[in-house]
């Protein structure tokens, strides 16, 4: 076939590269192993120093908000898995909580305990994944293998609960679909007992490692003002001197009943973020120990309900559906037509492992949300690279992207 001239005139490809000021424009990505997804960075370079950075996103854009506007509420739950696919239960939870607040549902206590267990397991999974990949980017292969080994245990536990390893869909609007399996608590406890030693192993490998320190300390410094201005949340914000954890400040579920502290640092550099992540894993373990006791208390008090009782919005338990006519009819209506929440709007923020995960839902009383806005923390953690990277050198880009902990399922939605 004859070659026909390419008629596309893309926006950035036609930048002139021969410039008088010796400035080089480097395309970092969109396929780059340390970008943890499809991130394209356009870096303006003077020698090896970055003078201007322009993150380009959207390679994983699936239009989730548009999808949500054309789905019934329960249908959207598996889609939320695909946002932050490293810790998908926390996305499920954020969405479920938003709808519950909109409708005004009260979730049974046992379901709350199970949800908290899932959320904290997801947090540890996510932080282990972060540690593994960031250490790998910087060259610490051993830490990668260690952390993935531990993460695998957690994924096995989750797989035993919901059958999936990454895309859990383990939380429903109004509660959880299943009670935890028999081996769950035993496996979890075995893992938690080992975890402090595991974390110590990672820290022994990294804390005094010269390469790690040189790549981390005094690199990627985010000031408190910048982190607030860019809407940073989660470890990004806490490592820059703001001790703000939504679990603590605006408690949801039973977080006001458990004891844990919020690690934070004033330093604001990569190393501070690394320390915050490590400390948060320990705090999550602390919460998980307490949830195990809370679960046994639920068993003791015979609190067996797992889903909220709200016939207008939530299907009855399976036993009722199979034995009672009216429950079956209601279930049929809820599956085919979907629930119709009241007219109104709600914004609910939860503390996902990456930061503040918010769901804004505007309901007009129909079975589909009129508008659903996903507030994903990684979106702004990517945006901040614009202001963060200038002044740094090319190798720093890798460690900075690593410590921002961005996941592109969430950035692009």
């Amino acid at each position: 076939m004859a070659q026909i001239k390419n008629r596309l005139t893309p926006f950035f490809e036609n930048i002139s590269f021969d410039r008088e000021d010796n400035e080089l424009i480097l395309n970092f990505g969109p396929q780059h192993p340390s970008a943890h997804g499809q991130l394209r960075l356009m870096l303006h370079l003077q020698q090896e120093q970055i003078t201007k950075a322009h993150p380009d996103i959207g390679y994983l854009h699936r239009g989730m908000e548009k999808m949500a506007e054309n789905m019934i509420y329960n249908e959207f739950m598996p889609t939320t898995d695909r946002m932050d696919y490293i810790a998908s239960s926390s996305n499920n939870y954020g969405f479920a909580l938003a709808v519950e607040k909109l409708v005004g549902l009260e979730v049974p206590r046992r379901a709350k305990v199970i949800r908290m267990m899932l959320l904290e397991i997801n947090r540890i999974m996510s932080h282990l994944f972060w540690l593994a990949t960031t250490a790998l980017d910087i060259g610490a292969m051993t830490v990668f293998l260690f952390a993935f080994r531990e993460r695998e245990y957690l994924m096995d536990i989750i797989e035993g609960y919901c059958g999936a390893r990454l895309t859990h869909s383990a939380i429903r609007i109004g509660g959880v679909p299943l009670d935890i399996q028999d081996s769950f608590l035993l496996q979890l406890k075995t893992f938690l007992d080992k975890l402090p030693q595991n974390i110590k192993d990672y820290e022994d490998l990294l804390d005094t490692n010269r390469i790690w320190l040189m790549r981390m300390e005094e690199v990627g410094h985010i000031s408190k003002e910048l982190s607030l201005s860019w809407g940073c949340t989660g470890p990004m914000l806490r490592a820059s001197g703001t001790a703000w954890d939504i679990r603590k400040e605006e408690p949801y579920e039973l977080y006001d009943e458990v004891e844990f502290s919020v690690p934070f640092s004033d330093k604001g550099d990569n190393f501070a973020r690394y320390r915050v992540y490590m400390q948060e894993m320990r705090e999550s373990a602390k919460i998980l120990y307490q949830t195990i006791d809370m679960y046994w208390a639920c068993v003791k008090n015979n609190q067996t309900e797992l889903m909220a009782h709200a016939p207008k919005y939530i299907s009855a338990p399976k036993l009722d559906i199979m034995t009672q006519n009216y429950s079956l009819m209601q279930h049929f209506v809820l599956v085919t037509q979907g629930m119709r929440p009241p007219v109104g709007e709600v914004y609910v923020a939860t503390e996902s492992p990456k930061g503040e995960l918010g769901f804004y839902i505007n309901s007009q009383g129909g079975p589909y949300p009129y508008r659903l806005k996903l507030r994903a923390p990684s979106f702004w953690h990517t945006g901040i690279l614009t202001d963060l990277l200038p002044g740094h050198y090319i190798p720093d880009v890798v460690s900075i992207i690593g410590t921002t902990n961005i996941v592109f399922g969430e950035v692009d939605r």
Binding site: F11, M71, V343, G358, Y370, G383
Partner: protein
């Protein structure tokens, strides 16, 4: 009288709608019921016009004029300690009243309060950029422009952010179709190679779930495997199929259940 359905709303329609169903409201409280919010609202009202304000699900919602958005956010940031712009975007009300509703979700960490500032703009009207106050608005406003076509005056880089730069249309508008039309199959062919190449290249296949059972080059024929490139015309070649459950696994000649170990605990 027949219920009114907007003609330019191409979104999915509910499976069933009861015409006489009146949806309940999410309860609203008066702002006076919360001291902190009441004080904040007073401060806003002292300088700007507020058309409506209430508390819904624990957060204050304040309706302001579109021209005041920068001023109100500046007041919230500098004097009322709302230090973060958590989120902002728009809602499409074009079918109903030819307007967009814009919301700014603000967070005060000192007061542990969240406020939603809302305003209406006409179709085609631009908003004032708040990027100078909150850097997070840089990307939020670009996303809003990308998704709704609402421009922000004074924004340093008003370009698309999620969609490709040469995209046409704004996906989150209610008028934006859910699927491409019949011409969509030729868009990229025409653009890259020109119309004259249509015969050579053929239309783009836009159905992601499409499986061609006669194409043994590009599709696996599960259960009916044939060598790659086999020409299949109509008659399916007969494939012998057998299941493990019926006759056991053929590779294992002798399986002693007693002497084998089953691992229950994967972590051992």
């Amino acid at each position: 009288m027949r219920a009114y359905t907007p003609k330019d709303n191409v979104q999915a329609k509910p499976y069933y709608t009861d015409r006489f169903y009146v949806a309940p409201q999410v309860p609203k409280q008066a702002v006076e019921s919360d001291e902190v919010f009441a004080a904040d609202l007073e401060a806003i009202k002292a300088k700007f016009e507020v058309s409506d304000a209430y508390i819904q699900v624990g957060q204050m919602v304040v309706y302001i004029h579109a021209k005041d958005n920068y001023g109100v956010l500046e007041l919230l940031k500098d004097e009322l300690q709302y230090t973060q712009l958590t989120e902002m975007s728009a809602i499409d009300w074009l079918a109903k009243e030819n307007k967009f509703e814009i919301f700014y979700q603000m967070l005060s960490m000192n007061k542990r309060k969240r406020v939603r500032i809302k305003m209406f703009i006409e179709n085609g009207q631009a908003v004032n950029s708040v990027e100078k106050l909150f850097r997070s608005a840089d990307w939020s406003e670009r996303e809003m422009f990308d998704m709704f076509g609402i421009e922000a005056n004074g924004h340093p880089f008003m370009k698309r952010i999620l969609m490709p730069y040469d995209w046409q249309g704004h996906p989150l508008l209610k008028t934006y179709p859910l699927q491409g039309d019949e011409f969509a199959a030729w868009y990229e062919v025409d653009k890259i190679y020109g119309k004259e190449a249509r015969d050579i290249i053929g239309p783009e296949l836009r159905d992601p779930a499409r499986v061609d059972r006669y194409d043994s080059d590009r599709f696996a024929r599960l259960g009916h495997e044939v060598p790659k490139g086999t020409v299949i015309t109509g008659d399916e070649p007969k494939i012998e199929q057998s299941y493990q459950e019926e006759g056991g696994v053929f590779m294992i000649k002798k399986f002693d259940k007693e002497s084998s170990v089953v691992i229950d605990d994967p972590q051992r």
